[in-house]
Amino acid sequence: MSASGDAKLVFFEFRKTTLVKEQPSPPPRRLRRQRRKASSAGLMSATNTYREVTVGAMALGVILGVLMTASFVYIGLKLGFGLPGSTVAAILGFALLRGVGRGILKRPGSGSIVENNINQTVASGINTASAGIVFTFPALLLLGEDFNPWTVIFAAIAGSFMGIVIIIPLRKQMLEIERLRFPTGIAVATILKSPGAGARKSMFLGIGFAASALITIATTKLHLIPETLHIGPAILNLFGGSSTSTSGIAFALTGTMLSVSMANFGAGLLSGRGGLPFLFGGILAWWVIGPMAVSAGWHGAQPGGEDLIWHVYGTMLRPTGIGILIGGALAGVVVAFPAIKGAISSLTAAARLAKESGGDADELSPKVLVIGLIASFLLLLVVAVYGTGNLGQSLVVATTGTLWLGLAGLIVAQATGATDISPLSGLALIAVTLMLLLTGGNVVVAVTLGVAVCVATNQCADMMTDLKTGHLVGSIPRRQQLVQFAVAWIGPAVAVGTTMLLWQAGEGGSNGFGPESTACVNKMAECLPAPQASVLQGMIDGVLSGNAPVDKYLAGAAVGGALALFPIGGLGVLIGLAMYLPFEITFGYGIGCLVSMGVEKLKGRRFIADVLIPLAAGLIVGEALTNLIFTAVDVL
C-alpha cells in the first residue's frame, strides 16, 4: 500500500486502515466479496489478520462517546468535575464487543484486545471535549455576553484537532524516551489484557475494584468514612494546640489532610519512585514554604485557621505553582530538544521508509499533521476575525493562542503522564488572561479562544493516555491517531449543544444553570451551580480589574526553568503541580508512591507486575465507575 495517501485528507487514510490490505491490481469481484466476508469474520489475509479498526468498534465508540459527553457536561455543571471516559468505555466494550459479539452473536474474533482499544480511543476522544467546554463556555453565558454559539463550536473543533496534531509528534518523547507512566493508560491496558492475564492477576484486579468501590460508597454515599482525613488538626489537638494559631507549626498541621481517594492512591502505586518529586513538592509547599511564610508574617492581618490555609494557598502557593509549571515545561522542552529532534527525525524516517517499501508507517505522516495544524489554525483565525473585526489583531491573538495551546497541552500531557492529575483550570485561566490582554478586554473572544485551549489541552492528555494503552497492548499508533482524528469534531458539537440546551431550559429560555438560576436560588434538586465556570467568571472580573498575580507567575517561571536543569526529567512540572494542588491530593498520591517503592524492594519487580499493577488498576477503575453509577442514579 503506497504511503502517498499520507498527503491526502485524513478520511482517505481512515478508509485504508479499515479495509483489507489492497493488492497492486484490483482482484476479481468474487475475490473481493470473499475478502469482505473473511474480513468481517476476523480471518483476513496473512499480513492483516487481526480485528482492530472495525465498524463495530467505531460505532460503539461513537455511541458511548456521545452519551458520555452529554452526561459529563451535566455532571460537570452539577458537581464541578468530570470523570474519565476511557475506563468506562473499555469495560463496556469488553462486555459488548467480546461478551455479546463472541458469546451471543458467535462472531469469531469479535472484541479482540486491540479492537476494544479502538473503541475506548474513539469514546474518550469524543468525551474529552466535555471537561474543556464545561470549564470555560458556561462563563460566557453567566457573564451575559452576546455571542454566536457557532463560533464557540468552531473554536472547540479547531482546538480538538490542534490538540491531536500538536501532541502526536511528542509520542516518542513522552512514551518511549521519558517513559511517562500515564496511570489511567496502564489501568485501561490492564482491563483490556485481562482475558490473557491469568486468574491471579484478574483476581487482584477484582480485589482492587471491589475495595475501591466499597470505600467510595462508604465515603461519598454512606458517609461512614470522611472524604478527607484531618490528620494534622487531630495531631494539633492531641498536643493541646489550636488551629486558629498563626504559628508556622499550626499552619503545617492544619493543612495536613489526606483525601480518601483510592484512585489517587492507585495512581501513586503505579507511579512508584518516579512520582516522588511530586510528594517532595507538596512537602516543600505545605510543610516548609507555607509555615515559613506564616511565621514571617507574610499573611498580613489574616487570622489563623482554615481561612489562613486557603489565603496562603490562593495568594502565594497556587499562583507560584502555576508559574513553576509554565517555566518548568518551557525549559524542559529546551533541555530535551535533542531528544525531541531525534524523535521527530525517526518519525520522518519511518514515513519515508514506509513509502519506499510500499508498507504502512506506524505513525501518521508529518505532512498530515502539518495540514491538520494549518487547517485548525485557519479556523481559529476565522473565529478571531469574526470576534474582533480586525485581521491584524486576530493574527496576533490566534498565533498566541496556538503557541499557548501547544505549551499548555505539553504541560497537561506531562503532568497527566507523571501523576494522572491535570492542571487544566490554572492553564485555562492563563489562556483567558492572555487573550483579554491581547484583545483589550474583549471577553467573548478571550473566552472563545479559552474554549479552544481547554479542549485542546484535554485532547493532548487523552491522546497520550490512549497511545500509552495502545503501546501496552500492541496497537498500531497510526490507527489510533486516525480514529481520534475522525471523531474529534463530534465531542465539541455535543458538549456545546448540551450546554446551550441546559441554559435554555431555565425560565424565559435562559439562566438554566449557575448560582443565580431559579433552581439554585430556591435550593432545588435540579440546581446546576456550574462551579468551575463561576470560578472563571470571578477570575475574569479580577483580571479586568488588574488582579492577576503576574509577579508570582514570572518568579515561579524562573524557578521552574532552574528546576529543569536538574537531571530528573519533568521536575519543574511535578513540583509546580504539587504547589498548585491542595496537600490532601498530593499526600495520598505520595503515600502510594512510597508503598510501591517499599513493595518493590521487599518483593521484587515481578510481584509489582503480577500483583501491584492489577490491584492499582482496580482501585482507579473502581472509584471512577462507582462515582459514575451513583451520579447517574442521582441525576435520573
Binding site: T49, E176, P338, G342, F566
Partner: protein
Amino acid sequence: MNRTLGYSVFVFGLFLAASFASKPSGVDESTKPQPIERLQGWASRASIPFFVGLTAMIGGALLVRRRVAGKSATDGDTAASASSPDALLEQIATALAGAKSVGALSEASYDKIHQGLDQILEEHVPAFLEHREALIESMGLAAFAMMISDFATMERAVARAWSANTDHVWGEIAPCLDKAETALSAARTKLAA
C-alpha cells in the same frame, strides 16, 4: 561528596527561591495596581534572596550533573555484567528466538508463547529501562532517542503478539515476532555503536 553537596545546595536554593517567589508584593489592592506595579513591589521585597536561591539552584544542578556524567564514564566497565543493557537485550533476543521456535501456532502452543512473551514484557523490558538514565548520560540524548525508538518498536510488537495469542489470532503472531526481532537487532546495533 560532590553529589551530596550538589543536592544540598540545590534543595537549599529551591527552598529560598520558591519561598521568596511566593512572597506577597505588598501593594495596596484597593488602588487596583497594574501588573508592573505588582512586579516592582515584589522585587523591592524579595528579589535579592530570590536570586541568591536561583543561583544556588543552578550551581547545585550543575554539580549533580557533573557527578552523574563522571559516574557514567566509569560504568562502562560493567557492560559485561549479567544485568547490563547488552546482556538484557541478549536475553530478549533469546526469548524471542524461543517463542519463534515453537512451530505451528495453535491452542497447544498458547502457554509456551504466553510465558515467553510475558517474561520479555514483565521482566526483561523493565530491567532494561532501569538503565535509562545511565544510557542517556553515556550515549547522549539524541543517540539514545534513536536506540530507544527501535527498542520501543520491539516492545510494541511483542505486546501485539501477546494480545494476538490471547485472542487466538495465530496468523498475527509470527509477523509480530519477526518485526520485534528486526527492531531489536537495530536497537542492539545502535547500542553497540
